[in-house]
Symmetry: C2
């Protein structure tokens, strides 16, 4: 439980996992009580209307986009900023200052990869339909799967391999931190979206796949994933499975590249 | 000068402003001594080779991409993480903790806009030439100029307007911080890349344009901008001027949207 009596309120789109899931996972792993405000019934002050109220807040700092964390007077947006603030308060940050800096840096690289995953199906514009950019999406996904994804996943694998403090188990420091949960979510999402590409890649990133399986099997995470609180994957989300986008031959660059 | 005798070393591509410029500006405004390593002659350990050595570091945390800040044993990547760490040490962070959180959050929104600007000329893939994605770039830029840019710039204008602590002058807190320098760079770059679009937009974001002019006129920044240390804009950079991408009719959404 957190070191505060003020409740943690998460504001995020109720129908998708999206970037909000990285914060939900942090709460769930630590069994920190939180209110997923927009997933509550409208009659009880929830729903998308609640989210829109925070997005257009009359006073204080207006967030650009969800996810948003509200704790008393604090209203904080940007996933990586939220996690950097939240994690030390719920026991999910590395202990040493240097490892905390590393975790934040890695979380920002996860965020960059999230954007590139999203842009495979929305290369022209986020406010246009997929159907209106399907041809461009094919080109974009091919480039992503052959060039970018191997580079990113090879990088995270390399981080795990180099982290002597935890013999290849965690991305930063010597215990599980929020960035490990985010890598779990990333790998799970990629496997949903690009099953063929990930089948080819998986043997080349054994530490990452072991981390994914380890996180999935953790007691509180396993309970969460099986619960109705876990929103299912869908084609309204960041990780979308379009079969036509999942068929490039990919190969990892040599380690250290 | 910083509270350290260890020199600040910045590693970034020597021929462009890019994201590294946001860190250069922070050093220049505060007249903090720093070494722009890759811009030094190769014979003196500089050049792109120096950058590549840090990117493939044999020990410690390997950065995913530049910019990279090296201070003694610390090697830190990700622009926003670097600035959040650096700014309090060189007098460029807001004083209060809440304002520091806000500055970091805003910097991450600047980073998101940087990515979207870059993707106007590289919508399909960063590792392909512009010439190989020109048709897609036209569609992407049109969407960007009509939908995304007004939304982002309207948002920053709104932040300035709401910041009662500094009567519309600064983005966070009551004095100049690194995120103001980043907004200056963003607006200057956008004006280079999209002069027609920015001419139409400028009257709708008076506080932002005043901030841009205020920063450009600050003593140390003015000296820097006129010096050979300032790399000129170019079409190898993030902000590129392609006349064919700069012609959508744009309008800001009403305030608070």
């Amino acid at each position: 439980m957190a070191q505060t009596d003020v409740p943690y309120e998460l504001y995020y789109w109720p129908g998708i996992q999206g970037r909000g899931e990285l914060i939900r996972l942090a709460f769930e792993e630590t069994r920190t009580p939180y209110v997923d405000v927009a997933r509550r019934p409208s009659q009880e002050g929830g729903g998308v209307a609640a989210l829109e109220r925070v997005l257009s807040a009359a006073g204080g700092i207006r967030p650009f986009a969800p996810p948003i964390l509200k704790v008393g007077d604090l209203v904080l947006a940007q996933t990586a900023a939220i996690l950097a603030w939240l994690a030390p308060r719920i026991g999910l940050a590395p202990e040493k200052e240097g490892d905390r800096l590393a975790a934040h840096q890695h979380q920002l690289t996860v965020a960059d990869l999230y954007t590139e995953v999203h842009d495979t199906h929305h290369p022209i514009g986020v406010e246009l339909y997929y159907e209106d950019q399907r041809a461009e999406a094919r080109r974009s996904a091919e480039h992503f799967l052959s060039e970018r994804l191997p580079k990113f996943l090879g990088y995270f694998e390399d981080l795990l391999r180099r982290n002597s403090r935890s013999t290849g188990q965690y991305l930063a420091g010597d215990r599980l931190s929020y960035v490990d949960l985010s890598l779990f979510q990333m790998l799970t999402g990629l496997t949903y979206a690009f099953p063929r590409a990930m089948r080819r890649l998986a043997p080349q990133i054994p530490l990452s796949m072991a981390l994914r399986d380890h996180v999935a099997a953790r007691r509180h995470i396993a309970v969460y994933l099986a619960s109705p609180r876990r929103v299912p994957f869908s084609e309204d989300d960041i990780f979308r499975h379009y079969d036509e986008l999942d068929d490039a031959a990919i190969e990892l660059p040599p380690a250290g590249e």
